[in-house]
């Protein structure tokens, strides 16, 4: 295993000794990861490696068996039942984007983005709508505000989901295979938005199969297999010269098809 790059940015996300198993099926073994402020971490690896599970543990959508998670100073120890206040604070610090968007189908696009601001941040309807419209414009989707999500393409839905998460002002954005459910051409729209987001200094953790994104946009690449991190470091270096045999096999499979 390669030593992780040491950066100067203070860590926004710190995951320590995460472990999880379903009965005898071990999904995570001793995963530790630090994400410095303003950096983009891409997580790659074969399916079933535990990438998504690590990401979902970060905001406790998945409860790890042991280990510690800290986001923006809010720390949760997996062994104990989380304090609800602390859990809420941690989740507020992390914006989540799902593979299948998970927009609310019974609300207009605008309500999808405004409701969480009203309910979680206590913004007034007008304040929330103003923020929502600002984000929709940034996503190039202002004209979709009054549509229902079902009237939007997959790429548009995913950008709306990104806007919904950004509207809460998260310290870190967690992306769980954001383009895997999209046609390659449509996925590009979403990747463009993510690149723009990275360029503004947003801290991001991205589970992905998009090797170009992982290579060009990420500051740090994490390779997972069989529930553990097998390699992490500078993306260019890992993609050019993987140290681990498992990484080499995986890269050959995804790059040379």
């Amino acid at each position: 295993m390669i030593e992780p790059n040491i950066r100067t940015g203070t860590p926004v996300v710190r995951v320590t000794n995460l472990a999880k198993a379903y009965g005898s099926n071990v999904v995570l073994r001793d995963v530790s990861l630090t994400v410095p402020e303003g950096s983009v971490t891409a997580m790659i690896g074969p399916s079933g490696a535990g990438k998504s599970t690590v990401l979902r543990c970060m905001n406790l959508l998945e409860q790890p068996d042991s280990g510690e998670i800290e986001i923006d100073g809010h720390r949760i120890n997996a062994g104990r039942k989380p304090n609800p206040k602390n859990l809420a604070a941690l989740r507020r610090s992390a914006g989540m984007v799902f593979q299948h968007f998970n927009l609310f189908p019974h609300m207009t696009v605008l309500r999808n983005i405004s409701l969480p601001q009203e309910r979680v941040l206590g913004r007034s309807r007008d304040e929330a709508n103003e923020k929502s419209m600002e984000l929709l414009k940034r996503m190039g989707l202002a004209e979709k505000a009054d549509q229902y999500p079902s009237r939007c393409s997959g790429g548009q839905q995913q950008r709306i989901a990104i806007a919904r998460a950004l509207a809460l002002g998260p310290r870190v954005m967690l992306f769980d295979e954001p383009t895997s459910a999209l046609d390659p051409e449509v996925g590009v729209e979403v990747l463009e938005v993510m690149k723009e987001l990275a360029s503004t200094g947003m801290t991001m953790v991205v589970v992905t199969h998009e090797m170009a994104f992982a290579g060009n946009v990420a500051d740090e690449l994490v390779v997972m297999a069989d529930g553990g991190i097998i390699e992490k470091g500078e993306p260019g270096q890992i993609l050019q010269d993987p140290q681990h045999d498992r990484t080499r096999r995986f890269l050959r499979a995804v790059l040379e098809r």
Binding site: L61, R91, F101, F104, H106, P116, R119, V120
Partner: protein
């Protein structure tokens, strides 16, 4: 003319029994659904047994038990009370299953998005899961309501003077036999068809808005 008069006298009670039983059933179904979804094994088991008990015994038997069997101190149920209550609790069991099915038809991602956004439980139910469940439940709920409208005739067996009770009384007194029952059947159809139409209209309208 006499025949129509008999049915017209029965009509309000048919509607009353149906509406009240549906209201009781809907309200009682909610705690039962909570029990059926509970992770507490005891709560779950109690709810499960209650549903199976209520559904397993024919409604007419429940009505007999409530009408002839219940006397708490000086309290004895009238035929109408026993009919409404009996059909109401049986409805609660069926509606609880209908609600449970509708809730579990909501994709897991809706719960996950709600959690990730940091919604409180109350908000998740009132703004996300509740409204989507209500939409999902419309077709099954109206089908059940139409069934209940017809099953309200069971209350005639303990002497509630609704349409079927009045019809059979008329048939016996007048000696005209079967004719009155054809008219009664027509009245039931006239009552239930609009319900079905309304249901389909609502369903189509809501599907248009949220179709995935």
């Amino acid at each position: 003319m006499e025949m129509l008069r008999a049915i017209a006298i029965g009509l309000p009670l048919t509607v009353l029994v149906t509406v009240l039983a549906l209201m009781i059933g809907t309200v009682l179904a909610l705690p039962i659904v909570a029990g059926l979804r509970s992770r507490n094994r005891i709560l779950w088991l109690v709810s499960r047994l209650l549903v199976d008990l209520l559904r397993g015994v024919p409604p007419v038997v429940w009505l007999f038990i409530l009408y002839y069997g219940v006397s708490i101190g000086a309290i004895r149920l009238t035929a109408l009370q026993a009919g409404v209550l009996g059909l109401g609790v049986v409805a609660a069991a069926y509606l609880a299953e209908i609600f449970r099915g509708a809730i579990s038809s909501i994709p897991k991602g809706q719960w996950e998005a709600s959690s990730a956004l940091g919604f409180h439980r109350a908000t998740v139910w009132s703004r996300i899961i509740g409204p989507q469940t209500a939409r999902a439940v419309v077709p099954a709920y109206t089908t059940f309501a139409i069934g209940l409208l017809k099953d309200s005739s069971i209350a005639s067996s303990i002497g509630v003077a609704e349409i079927v009770f009045m019809s059979s009384q008329y048939a016996r007194q007048s000696g005209e036999g079967i004719m009155v029952f054809f008219v009664a059947a027509g009245v039931y159809i006239i009552l239930s068809v609009p319900l079905g139409l309304l249901s389909r209209h609502l369903d189509v309208k809501m599907r248009k808005a949220v179709a995935r």
